[in-house]
């Protein structure tokens, strides 16, 4: 067992380094995400082209209200047209998300194997690892949904307390502060649960563990003994991911000229790329952390000096009185 006095694995930088060195994973996920998202959005775009009476590409109104700035009422007006060119936008967004979820369920095994082994897997090894873990991770997803139930209950209770405070307090801030605290607690809980399941996936790959409930128990033990370092690892990368995303959003919405097309496209995709990168950074750091942890554990539980064997040697047997 690893004691807390042992040196902490340097996983933060190692994870970033892994993501950088195994860039192909990042780019593949980005491309799949982009292609699926585009397929969903292209349908809505096609509706606009075909159904808005004249296509937006030839509409003087579209140029006036959507290119030079972003007139929200123009979008509302499009939505209120009898032919409803925006119809199905949300449905078209749902399908790519589900497909991407399935893709990630499949790819996670390969990703974690590549990070854990720190080895550039060829396609067959990657897909083999993915296929090996797919059903395990589907089962794990079910466990994850079950693990979310207490969080939902806590959220629901917090909501009721929020409503009560809001109802009885004269100042609006009492409920606001409570709400902020509740959201912070729930976010931390969600992070902890995600981290637990992340570690479970790492263990499942590292040990080729088929039994997910066992992997969950092992991961829980590891987390229990190393909660501080693991949580700090996950939390730091989450903050960086969100901060970069917010900065990107600020640049896009506030700083970028409304008519800039290519720049907006590049910036928006850079934001998504970094977001995916941050998530992979978490996975790589966790894999690296666990690898270092196992190595340290192996050192700390290394077998002691050989002791006299209990079974007598041949010489001893030969000299022994009969």
């Amino acid at each position: 067992m690893m004691s807390t006095s042992q040196p902490k694995p340097k996983a933060f930088a190692a994870g970033a380094s892994l993501v950088w060195r195994r860039q192909r994973i990042l780019w593949w996920i980005f491309v799949v995400n982009l292609v699926l998202a585009f397929m969903g959005a292209a349908g809505a775009s096609h509706n606009l082209a075909d159904d808005a009476g004249v296509t937006l590409n030839h509409s003087t109104e579209a140029a006036r209200r959507l290119v030079h700035g972003f007139d929200m009422s123009a979008l509302q007006e499009l939505g209120s047209l009898p032919q409803d060119p925006l119809r199905g936008t949300s449905a078209l967004a749902a399908l790519p998300s589900i497909l991407f979820l399935l893709f990630m369920l499949f790819a996670t095994g390969g990703i974690l194997a590549a990070y854990y082994e720190d080895f550039s897997l060829d396609a067959s090894a990657f897909f083999e690892a993915g296929a090996r873990c797919f059903w395990r991770f589907v089962r794990l997803l079910v466990y994850f949904v079950i693990a979310m139930i207490p969080v939902v209950i806590i959220g629901s209770i917090a909501g009721k307390i929020y409503d009560h405070i809001d109802d009885v307090s004269v100042s609006p801030y009492a409920s606001v502060w409570f709400g902020c605290a509740a959201v912070a607690v729930i976010l931390l809980l969600l992070m902890a649960i995600r981290l637990w399941f992340d570690m479970t996936e790492v263990i499942a790959v590292a040990h080729d563990e088929r039994r997910m409930h066992k992997a969950l128990r092992l991961a829980a033990g590891v987390m229990w003994r190393n909660h501080h370092s693991l949580f700090w690892l996950y939390f730091r990368i989450s903050v960086i991911g969100w901060a970069v995303f917010a900065a990107g959003l600020y640049l896009w919405m506030i700083r970028l000229h409304p008519e800039s097309g290519a720049k907006a496209l590049l910036l928006s995709q850079a934001m998504i790329l970094f977001w995916i990168g941050a998530r992979l950074w978490q996975r790589a750091s966790e894999a690296s952390w666990y690898k270092q942890y196992r190595e340290a554990q192996a050192v700390s539980v290394a077998p002691p000096e050989p002791i006299a064997p209990l079974i007598p040697t041949e010489e001893e047997l030969a000299g022994a009185p009969r």
């Binding site: 998202a37 967004a93 004269v170 609006p172 801030y173 919405m253 008519e259």
Partner: protein, 630 residues
């Protein structure tokens, strides 16, 4: 001097009613116990023996017509499936009714349901007197009544120790069009009453900060820890008040053509950041109304910022008292506090002074007010940013009104009785959004100056009366000097859809049968034949301009009366089509679809690409969030 003083004292209105109310608030039980004396002057020109009264608070009962309608299609701030419990129920009970010289008539009170015969609805009662009241004579009713206030669900009620008390006393109906007009309280209807005076005494706990639709005449501190405030209000048709120990009264003033107006801004805890926004909007509205419509004759206006959780008390108008609406987090780019204050103050002119029948012709108040709201908001905050003003997204108030109209453009005419609309959504879309858009289109038709003159004339002529829709429309025709019946029949009385489109627009070489000579084309010697076909898609006929631009910078402006279903323009020029646009200046705001108004020869995919970029990004982002579960 004496004559001047008399002129100053001369009533602004024909005072039909004189109310004297003595009310005591019990904050613990959220109830009000009161006596009311109503002196009614019979100016109906005939003897009157039966008098109807509103009991609005009885709308907050489960079997009332109001609640039945809310369950059907909701109302402002309340969905059909909104949870209602005992706290939401309110009531008003008249314990005693006496008439001077005729004795106790409590037993003669009878609930009536003139609109829907719902026997469970107790929002109107009538009493028949033993003898009629002669024309020109007065009759005095003396009542003892008891209010149980609901938690605020619809304009009136309480939240914690905040009280917004409106429509809280028995109010007599209006003799109008030769009959009593006293409708039940419906989910979408508002109010209608006669002008007069109000002398109101309010007794409530000493620490209450009170705002009311009247001048404070006296304050008496009572020995039991309460205080009695006495208010007087003249030439109004309603009296409302608010109380909370937590209000901050931000006083201010504004001076216009009719003198100084004292502003009481009662701010709820946590919302003080909105106070300067309210004040700017209010003063700007006072100034523009004074300039464009007419003087504000009262010496006071109270703005109530409802406490959090009492949002449904906000956005309401009463004579010289309005309720606003904000939150502690309201971003500057979202101009909700400004729009609400502007809109509710605008009601002082249309609801409080012009005083049309909101049950039967709601568009005359809400719609005209929404039209003026756009005018004032655009003048104060910019045409394209008067509703939403963020660096990444903007919207003008006028566009928002039009968008609202587009939500239900052809179900109901403006003139439908408020409770007979298809739904509360249709009521809102037509009464507010469509009327504002109809009037904005009318303004483009007759000119801004004429429209402004018409609004001024209408207000000055009909303030302190109860005009009808026809009075309003005839005033516009009279001022503009034009017969506008063709427009009113379609836009006001009809449900016609207005939609013009460029059906097709293209250029072709005149000598199309010959091989094209590149030199001829580049030297602009090639003659093209350009066809532009304009289509009237809807059944609303409106004359339109059509502008055709060519790629040599020239253009042609056509005028089409719109009577036929389509028209084709043909040009032969040494230039090709650049664009064709119907209603190029967007004068016809009633046009249902602006996106089909113009067609360019060259494709410009920037708008589509922008939307596509946003959708792709959103989809990617949603996918990432979903993938977090794996």
């Amino acid at each position: 001097m004496a004559a001047a003083a008399d002129a100053e004292k001369k009533p602004l209105s024909t005072r039909v009613v004189a109310y004297q109310i003595d009310a005591k608030l019990d904050p613990a039980t959220h109830s009000i116990t009161a006596t009311e004396s109503l002196t009614y002057l019979n100016l109906t020109g005939q003897p009157q023996q039966t008098f109807p009264f509103h009991l609005y608070l009885n709308a907050f009962q489960p079997q009332s017509t109001f609640m039945t309608e809310v369950r059907l299609s909701g109302t402002r701030g309340n969905d059909p499936d909104s949870a209602w419990d005992a706290k939401n129920f309110g009531s008003i009970t008249v314990d005693k009714l006496e008439v001077d010289g005729m004795g106790d008539l409590t037993g003669a009170m009878q609930f009536i349901q003139p609109d829907d015969h719902n026997a469970a609805d107790h929002t109107v009662f009538q009493v028949t007197l033993p003898k009629p009241v002669a024309p020109g004579a007065t009759v005095t009713f003396r009542m003892a009544f008891h209010d149980v206030m609901p938690v605020v669900v619809e304009r009136t009620g309480y939240k914690r120790d905040f009280f917004m008390v409106g429509q809280w006393f028995p109010k007599v109906g209006v003799w109008w069009k030769n009959q009593w007009n006293c409708h039940q309280f419906h989910a979408t209807t508002e109010f209608f009453a006669d002008f007069g005076t109000f002398d109101v005494k309010l007794t409530l706990p000493h620490d209450e900060v009170v705002g009311a639709g009247g001048d404070l005449v006296s304050t008496v501190n009572n020995s039991d820890g309460t205080k009695t405030l006495e208010y007087r209000s003249e030439d109004v048709h309603d009296f409302s008040w608010t109380a909370s120990p937590h209000f901050t009264d931000a006083e201010d003033s504004w001076t216009g053509s009719a003198g100084t107006v004292k502003i009481h801004l009662l701010m709820a805890p946590g919302n003080m950041a909105s106070a300067p926004r309210y004040l700017r909007a209010l003063k700007g509205t006072l100034a523009y109304y004074d300039k464009w419509v007419g003087p504000y004759p009262y010496d006071r206006i109270t703005v109530v910022d409802p406490e959090h959780g009492a949002f449904n008390a906000g956005g309401m108008e009463y004579p010289t008292l309005i309720t606003a609406g904000s939150t502690w987090w309201m971003p500057k780019g979202l101009l909700v506090p400004e729009v609400v204050v502007e809109h509710e103050f605008g009601h002082q002119y249309w609801y409080a002074m012009v005083a049309t029948n909101e049950f039967e012709e709601a568009w005359l108040d809400e719609g005209i007010n929404s039209y003026m709201e756009v005018k004032v908001m655009d003048a104060l905050y910019g045409k394209d940013t008067s509703m939403l003003n963020f660096p990444f997204a903007q919207a003008g108030d006028g566009e928002e009104q039009r968008t609202s109209y587009l939500g239900a453009p052809d179900f109901d005419p403006l003139t439908r009785f408020a409770w007979q609309f298809r739904s509360s959504g249709s009521y809102a879309a037509v009464t507010y959004g469509k009327t504002a858009t109809v009037l904005a289109t009318l303004e483009k038709l007759i000119g801004e100056e004429k429209m402004q003159e018409a609004m001024h004339t209408y207000f000055m002529r009909y303030r302190f009366t109860h005009p009808t829709g026809e009075d309003f429309l005839k005033t516009i025709e009279e001022v503009s000097g034009r017969n506008l019946r063709w427009y009113f029949d379609q836009a006001v009385y009809g449900t016609n859809i207005l939609d013009y489109e460029i059906w097709s627009a293209d250029s072709d070489r005149v000598n199309w049968y010959e091989k094209e000579n590149p030199l001829t084309r580049s030297s602009h010697q090639q003659v093209y034949r350009t066809y532009v076909t304009v289509h009237r898609k809807g059944d609303f006929i409106f004359p339109v301009d059509v502008k055709v631009k060519f790629d040599d910078g020239t253009s042609a402006l056509e005028h089409w009366d719109g009577r036929d279903r389509w028209v084709r323009y043909t040009y032969e020029r040494k230039a090709k089509l650049a664009s064709a646009e119907v209603d190029p200046e967007r004068k016809i705001l009633l046009d249902r679809d602006f996106f089909n108004n113009g067609r360019t020869a060259e494709s410009d995919d920037r708008a589509t690409h922008k939307l596509l970029r946003i959708w792709v990004f959103t989809n990617e982002w949603i996918s990432q969030l979903v993938a977090w579960f794996t």
